[in-house]
């Protein structure tokens, strides 16, 4: 599945409209993932996962910053995410199914905070973008 020029435009435009809240949304998406899909918590036994956790917020910001980098380099996701791809393959080894769960919760978070921007076309483009990022992050798994 390939990102069309329109998809790339939709993603960049939407990301620009987040108004500096990307970090906060990353944290919220993680919280939603842990709440809706409790199996995802197995990757964070070392974290305080209670509501409002500073660790979750910090980690959410990390995830969001990586996505912001991906948006900025949307024409070369494998290049931009190479180090993260190595990390997920050799160290973190998060089962691939979990990327879909976090991606879904990122969509839900964006839908909550930016209902007007979250048109069907943008929804589709964002879903494709998160899918593309997930593919890169799991590309070196085997």
């Amino acid at each position: 599945m390939v990102l069309s020029p329109a998809d790339k435009t939709n993603v960049k435009t939407t990301w620009d409209k987040l108004g500096g809240h990307a970090g906060e949304y990353g944290g919220e998406a993680l919280e939603r993932t842990f709440t809706s899909f409790p199996t995802t918590k197995t990757y964070f036994p070392h974290f305080d996962l209670s509501p409002g956790s500073a660790q979750v917020k910090a980690h959410g910001k990390k995830v969001a910053d990586a996505l912001t980098t991906a948006v900025a380099h949307i024409d070369d996701l494998p290049g931009a995410l190479s180090a993260l791809s190595d990390l997920h393959a050799y160290k973190l080894r998060v089962d691939p199914v979990n990327f879909k769960l976090l991606s879904h919760c990122l969509l839900v978070t964006l839908a909550c905070h930016h209902p007007a921007e979250f048109t069907p076309a943008v929804h589709a483009s964002l879903d494709k973008f998160f899918s593309a990022v997930s593919t890169v992050l799991t590309s070196k798994y085997r």
Partner: protein, 147 residues
């Protein structure tokens, strides 16, 4: 069987009472066809599905979305017996419609996105969690009679 806590049941019924089931149905089905275009395979007779605007404005999509969501709404009244409630529809989707149950999961998640868009901050992580259990339960119930 779906196991919701008392709080979760309250969250679900509270939010659902504010949902315009007819409209949300059309929006959810429309978005399914836009975001996952391969799902259009079941709707050759629906006419113009060539663009997001065409899909979202298509009267057959809206009508069918309304039908689907009214059925889902019935499920919400019978959370303790989803398999029984959806037994006939499960047989229909397998034997006559030949729909891969994966599609029920896709629609469930699109519905969650639509609810998030409508309710904004009210659609808290806890509310989402409750609805994820419901859509998973409905999807399983609809797949239950497959053979």
């Amino acid at each position: 069987m779906v196991h919701l806590t008392a709080d979760e049941k309250s969250l679900v019924s509270g939010l659902w009472s504010k949902v315009n089931v007819d409209e949300v149905g059309g929006e959810a089905l429309g978005r399914l066809l836009v975001v996952y275009p391969w799902t259009q395979r079941f709707f050759d007779s629906f006419g113009d599905l060539s663009s997001p605007d065409a899909v979202m404005g298509n009267p057959k999509v809206k009508a069918h979305g309304k039908k689907v969501l009214n059925s889902f709404s019935d499920g919400l009244k019978n959370l303790d017996n989803l398999k029984g409630t959806f037994a006939k529809l499960s047989e229909l989707h397998c034997d006559k419609l030949h729909v891969d149950p994966e599609n029920f999961k896709l629609l469930g998640n699109v519905l969650v996105c639509v609810l998030a868009r409508h309710f904004g901050k009210q659609f808290t992580p806890q509310a989402q969690g409750a609805f994820q259990k419901v859509v998973a339960g409905v999807a399983n119930a609809l797949a239950h009679k497959y053979h």
